[in-house]
Symmetry: C2
Subunit: 336 residues, 2 copies
């Protein structure tokens, strides 16, 4: 085991500096490393909406710091609404806002403490999940991941990518494949970058190549994160996760979902009740400012989908593992 | 029914002009319409390899004209080998070369007649398949297609896209979705272009969004082409087709494969025996010359996959339809 994984000192997606929140601009990675400085809650809400920062846990943490900024302005209630509405699917955003609002009466310093606590808890949760998830993998296996679930999406090692980091360091993982993750290419731009920085070999695939990869016998596990998990264990995650879980089940492979309890939403009955964000068709119609499709053509661009609980083999959280999640098992671990 | 569909006078992917083969450069569509003029068989082989022309039937026809050019040079046997080796998966290439070589002793004029015949037969096959395929669709349905199977891939209306053209004109199809088809974006660049030129509304989706689309109830049929169909009915087609057929079956939708008999390869036992082309990782690592992934990262880039026959609900060819293809039913229609 690589000891450096026991204490996280790697890549950061955000930093609180001189009374402002600085966000690593994930739209421009990996070829340009640039920080966006947010002075107001509105700045933070815009940065979340525009994908300067993305990844369910990172969005929650950014919004928490955004609430600190809101408390210094004169439109706290409005700013809170703005932050809550920045993106609809990842429940971490609402979860973090609930925690922040609950202590808002104690003032700005208390809010900063709460934001730091949310960040530290996420970092610690990453450690637990990464270890526990890696323990569940078979020695010598190949894994396929999707989107980015690493340090850029969390406060630490990551969720699914944390498991891959631990599993690789422990010699359990022999091959890592990453779906490029259209339209925003989080796999090609962010996951490939994080893994290559860590010296973990990764092969990118077109998202549509996943079923063929599974058939080829090169992977045994699909390891993904989550943006929201409903009370029955249904998982909202990056568009394409559902197809991966379907194909994995068809090929007798297993699907592991790795998510901090901040992504669990016991108030949402099932996946059908989770709002799925539809983003600008332009994300598919052009690339880096260049038009791809002909003028006048449109696109349907949902950026998340729902993987039904029955396709999940194991859910890894910092509170424990849920094998074959269902309503009863979710209730046992996460309460009402 | 739109009468204009009964006689094809639309878009052409190739033309024989002044003793040379001119190919519409599909790498630059839809924003640049440019023709590449091939004077030698080597020019044609390179154009096929570099995707100036693509689509199984179009590759076969281009290679047939390439053989005419070869017959005018002094390295006929070598040129034939070069053309045969240009791309490995679509059997139309080998099929067309077999036909051309069989008449090669009769001279260059006879070869030109044979190439024109192959082209005319494909055009006629398109008409049959388009009508018969459209007849099988349910009124008011939504269809999802993948890659490009239209006039740019054939000599006429297209295979799957011909069915969609007929089905739309007949008022049977209400919604058309096209997967963008990474890495080469044939869906976004070529299919969207053909459909919008025809005034058929189309919505692009990320390939990874197909399962979510199916779950949403907006499509009832997956309609695709084929690059090679083995004797047991297994279908090699553009990477991602397998995942679409798997997801369609899971959602109770139907999958139609539309392919001229030139794509049927009764000498290949099953899909496992079909060679799957692996292309340059660079197709995934960069976009329009811009690096996407970080330096040093690699990619696994198979550009076709195998859809097992049991996931195909109906195969439409110009020789007839095969419902739920298997070895016996394929043998009944296509012989040994």
């Amino acid at each position: 085991m690589n000891n450096s994984l026991n204490r996280y000192d790697g890549l950061r997606a955000f930093r609180w500096e001189n009374d402002a929140l600085e966000l690593l601009d994930q739209r421009r990675l990996p070829h340009t490393v640039d920080w966006v400085r947010c002075h107001t809650a509105k700045d933070v809400a815009e940065a979340i909406r525009d994908l300067v920062v993305r990844g369910a846990p990172a969005i929650g943490i950014a919004a928490a710091y955004g609430t600190v900024l809101a408390s210094r302005g004169s439109h706290f209630e409005d700013d809170v609404l703005l932050l809550r509405a920045a993106r609809p699917t990842a429940v971490n955003l609402m979860w973090a806002m609930d925690r922040m609002v609950a202590v808002a009466d104690s003032g700005s310093d208390r809010l900063l403490v709460e934001a730091r606590t949310i960040e530290q808890e996420d970092l610690a949760a990453n450690q637990c999940m990464s270890k526990w998830g890696a323990e569940r993998l078979d020695r010598g296996c190949g894994v396929l991941t999707h989107c980015n679930t690493g340090s850029l999406a969390t406060a630490g090692l990551g969720t699914a990518l944390g498991v891959i980091r631990y599993g690789y360091a422990a010699g359990k993982i022999q091959r890592v494949f990453a779906g490029e993750t259209r339209p925003w290419l989080q796999g090609a731009r962010l996951t490939a970058w994080e893994l290559s920085e860590d010296g973990i070999p990764v092969q990118l695939i077109a998202d549509a190549a996943a079923a063929h990869l599974m058939h080829s016998g090169q992977v045994q596990w699909v390891v993904v994160g989550a943006d929201r998990i409903a009370a029955n264990g249904d998982v909202a995650n990056k568009i394409g996760t559902y197809a991966l879980a379907l194909a994995a089940r068809h090929h007798g492979l297993r699907t592991m979902v790795v998510a901090a309890s901040s992504s669990i939403d016991m108030r949402t009955l099932d996946g059908e009740a989770i709002p799925i964000e539809l983003r600008d068709p332009e994300e598919l119609l052009s690339f880096a400012g260049q038009a791809v499709a002909p003028t006048g053509v449109t696109a349907w661009n949902p950026v998340f989908d729902i993987t039904p609980a029955e396709l999940v083999d194991v859910l890894v959280t910092e509170k424990g593992l849920v094998e074959h999640p269902n309503r009863a098992r979710m209730h046992d671990l996460f309460g009402a």
